[in-house]
Amino acid sequence: MSTGQPSVRLCHLYPDHLNIYADRGNIAVFQRRLEWRVLFLEVVEVGLGDPIPSDCHLYYLGGGQDRDQMLVAEDLVQKADPLRHAAHDGAVVLGVCGGYQLLGHGYSGADGRPMPGIGLLDLETTAGSSRLIGDVVLDVTLGGQTRTVVGYENHAGRTHLGGGCTPLGHVRRGHGNNGDDRCEGAVAGRCLGTYLHGPLLPKNPWLADTLLGWALEHAGFGVDLEPLDDGLETAAHGAAATRAGLRR
C-alpha cells in the first residue's frame, strides 16, 4: 500500500459457514488491537464459489458444523492455490477447529466419508468415537517466547502431525490434538492451526499481537506494536486457567 495509514488485509474464509465457535471474536480482536494503535484492518470475506485473493496478509478459517465443513472442504480444495502461494510468500494463516483440520491433508469422518484438506499443514485427522471437550491450558513457544495460552476445545477429530510441522503448544490441561501425545495445534512457518476456541484471541492477546506483528511485516510495515492496557484480558485469561484447574 503506497499511501495512508499502515493496514493489514485479512481474508476471512467462509464467515457464513465456519462461525460456530464465535470466530467473529477473533476477527474483532485483530481489528480492535490494530485500531487502538491507529492501524487498520481491511476484511475481505470469501464465501462458497468466491475466488480467494492472493494479496492478503492474514487468512482466517474458523470452525463449522460437520455439514458446513463438508460443503466448505469441497469448495476450498478447488480454489486453494492463491492461499498456498500467499502462505509460501509469508502471509499469516490461522485455522481454528474445523479450519485447522482443513489446513491439513484431510479428515476421515465417523461415517467413513473422506473430507479433503489443502495440505498447508502436514497433519491428518480421523474421527474418534467420543468428543474431546473441555478447558485447555497450553505452553506455547513462538518467536523465542514461551507463554500460557488458554481456551476451550470441543472436537471429535483426532489429529496427528507429520514431520513437516511442529505442535503449537504443550498441553498442561485438556486433551489437545488427539488426547494421547499432550500436543496441541500445529505450526509451520507462519501457518498455525489449533482446536482452541473460546474464542482463542481475546484471552490470549500475546498470541494475537504475535500474529499481527507477522502480518504487518508481511504487509511491508516495520511497525513495532505498542503495548496496550491488557488488564481485562489478563484477568479473563486467569479466570479461564482457574476454570481449567490451574491456580485454584
Partner: protein, 459 residues
C-alpha cells in the same frame, strides 16, 4: 439392580424428596425422579399411561418454561386438573418427579429439555408434542445442532400416527421434521411489519433441508426463523394453521396479537414482551386449540399470565425497577436486546455470566450475541458485569467498542447488584441479564433482601 415394584419404588422416591426439602437441599424437584428411575426404570412409562387425558410435551431451545405456563393458564381456566413440571426441572428425572404427584390429574403437561425429548417421547407416548425451535445452545452439552435435528427427526418418525405434532412453521429445521408426521398443526408469524430483511450473525439453519441450497427469506423474525423458501427445489414454509396476523410490540410492557386459528380469531393482550414471546403465545395457542379449548377461553387466560421466573420478570428494589431477562444462548440474548431497545430511555445493564454445567462451560456463545446494537446510537448508559466469568463478558464489550469508563467489573453478585443500582439511579430502571445459574444466584440475593420467593415455589 432388579426393578422394584412400582408402589415401593414410588414411596421410596417420594420420601427422598421430602427429606431433601427438610434438609434444605432444594425443592425436591429432581431427586425423587432420579431415584425412581434407578429403582424402577419403567415407572415413567407406567405413570404416564395412567394419566387419563394423556401427556403433552413441549420442547425447543428457547421459550419452554413460558409456553408451558401459558398452556397451563388456559387449562386452568377450562377447569382441567393438570400435573406439570414447574420450576424448569425438564430432564427425565423432573418429569418422573412430577408424575409421582399425578394423583387426580386429568392431563400431564411437561416442558422437556431438547436433548431429553426423544427419550421422553418414547417413554411417555404423548398425545401432543409441541416442537418450538432449535437454536445454537451449549455446544459442549448438546453437541452440534444438526445432531439434535437428526434425533428429533427419528423420534417423530417413531411417534404414534394418531398423536398431534404442533410445530413452528417459521423454523425450517423444525418444519421439515414435523411435516413428515401425518397429524400436525403449524404456527407462525404472518405480520410483515415486524420482520427484518436479513439474517443476523451466526444464524443456524440457513440451507434447504432437501437440496442444500441457500434458503431465501422474504422476512426474518428471530435468528433463522421467518418466511423462508428454497429457490432451487421449491420447498417452502406453509401458511401456518395458527398465525399471528398482527403483532404490536409495546416494549417491555407487553404486546397485542391478532391470532387466526381454525376455531376462530383471538385478540390477545399479552403481558410478555418481545417477538420470542409472540412465538411462545402462538405455540401455547396452537397447543390449547389441539386440546379442544375454545378461543374465548384461551385469549383471556393467556392475557392474565405474567412473566415466568426471570423471563422479563420485574421486581421493585428500593426506588429502582429491576427487569430480569434470562439469556443463555445467542438467540435469546439477541431478543432481549431488541426488546430493551424498544424502551425510550438510556439503558443501565447488569450482565451475569456463569459457566457451570447448566449454563454451558463454554462461554464462546457470548461472541455470537449482537451486543454491538446496544453501543450503536449510544443507548447503553452503564454496564456492570459479574459472575464466574465476569472478565470474559467485560472483554466481549471491550472488543465491541465500549469505552473503559462505562464498564464496572464486580465478580461478586451481591456487590454487583449494589453497584448497578447506584449506576442506574438516574433512570430508576435496571436490566439484569443472567445465565441460568446466575439467575438462581441473583434471585437468592433478592430473596435475602426479602424481595422474591425461592424458585421452587414458583408456579
Amino acid at each position: 439392580m432388579p426393578s422394584l415394584p412400582q408402589g415401593l419404588a414410588a414411596s421410596a422416591a417420594r420420601g427422598a424428596g421430602r427429606l431433601s426439602q427438610k434438609l434444605g437441599r432444594g425443592g425436591g424437584t429432581t431427586i425423587p425422579g432420579l431415584l425412581l428411575n434407578r429403582l424402577r426404570p419403567e415407572a415413567t412409562a407406567e405413570m404416564a399411561l395412567a394419566v387419563p387425558g394423556g401427556v403433552v410435551l413441549l420442547s425447543g431451545t428457547n421459550g419452554k418454561t413460558t409456553t408451558a405456563r401459558l398452556v397451563r393458564a388456559a387449562l386452568d381456566a377450562s377447569g382441567t386438573r393438570v400435573v406439570a413440571n414447574t420450576a424448569g426441572s425438564n430432564l427425565e428425572r423432573g418429569v418422573a418427579t412430577a408424575l409421582l404427584n399425578a394423583e387426580g390429574a386429568e392431563l400431564a403437561l411437561f416442558e422437556v429439555d431438547e436433548a431429553a425429548l426423544p427419550r421422553l417421547m418414547a417413554q411417555t407416548r404423548p398425545r401432543i408434542v409441541t416442537l418450538m425451535n432449535l437454536f445454537r445452545d451449549q455446544l459442549d452439552r448438546y453437541g452440534e445442532l444438526e445432531h439434535l435435528v437428526d434425533r428429533w427427526r427419528d423420534a417423530v418418525a417413531e411417534l404414534d400416527p394418531a398423536a398431534t405434532v404442533i410445530y413452528n412453521a417459521d423454523d425450517p429445521a423444525v418444519a421439515e421434521i414435523a411435516a413428515r408426521h401425518p397429524n400436525s398443526v403449524s404456527y407462525g408469524i404472518e405480520d410483515p411489519r415486524v420482520g427484518r430483511d436479513r439474517l443476523p450473525h451466526a444464524a443456524d439453519t440457513t440451507e434447504c433441508r432437501h437440496c442444500g441450497a441457500s434458503l431465501h427469506y422474504e422476512m426474518v423474525t428471530i435468528a433463522h426463523l421467518g418466511r423462508w423458501s428454497c429457490s432451487e427445489c421449491g420447498l417452502a414454509r406453509v401458511q401456518p394453521d395458527v398465525r399471528a396476523t398482527r403483532v404490536e410490540l409495546h416494549g417491555l410492557d407487553g404486546q397485542r396479537l391478532a391470532i387466526a386459528t381454525p376455531q376462530g380469531p383471538i385478540e390477545l393482550s399479552l403481558r410478555l414482551p418481545g417477538m420470542h414471546n409472540s412465538y411462545n403465545a402462538l405455540a401455547a395457542t396452537a397447543t390449547a386449540v389441539a386440546l379442544n379449548l375454545a378461543p374465548e377461553t384461551i385469549g383471556p387466560a393467556l392475557a392474565k399470565r405474567e412473566a415466568a421466573f426471570g423471563r422479563a420478570e420485574r421486581t421493585q428494589v428500593g426506588s429502582t425497577r429491576v427487569t430480569t431477562l434470562l439469556a443463555k444462548n445467542p438467540a435469546g440474548a439477541n431478543e432481549n436486546i431488541r426488546t430493551m431497545l424498544l424502551e425510550d430511555h438510556p439503558l443501565h445493564l447488569l450482565v451475569l455470566l456463569n459457566d457451570r454445567t447448566a449454563d454451558g462451560q463454554d462461554v464462546s456463545w457470548i461472541w455470537d450475541v449482537d451486543y454491538e446494537l446496544l453501543l450503536d446510537g449510544g443507548r447503553l448508559a452503564s454496564l456492570t458485569v459479574s459472575g464466574d466469568r465476569a472478565y470474559d463478558m467485560a472483554l466481549r464489550f471491550r472488543y465491541a467498542g465500549l469505552e473503559p469508563g462505562q464498564l464496572s467489573v464486580v465478580p461478586s453478585v451481591p456487590a454487583a447488584l449494589n453497584a448497578a443500582l447506584q449506576s442506574s439511579s438516574s433512570t430508576g430502571d435496571l436490566y439484569v441479564l443472567p445465565t441460568y445459574t446466575a439467575l438462581l444466584e441473583f434471585q437468592a440475593v433478592l430473596a435475602d433482601r426479602g424481595l422474591v420467593p425461592s424458585f421452587w415455589e414458583d408456579r
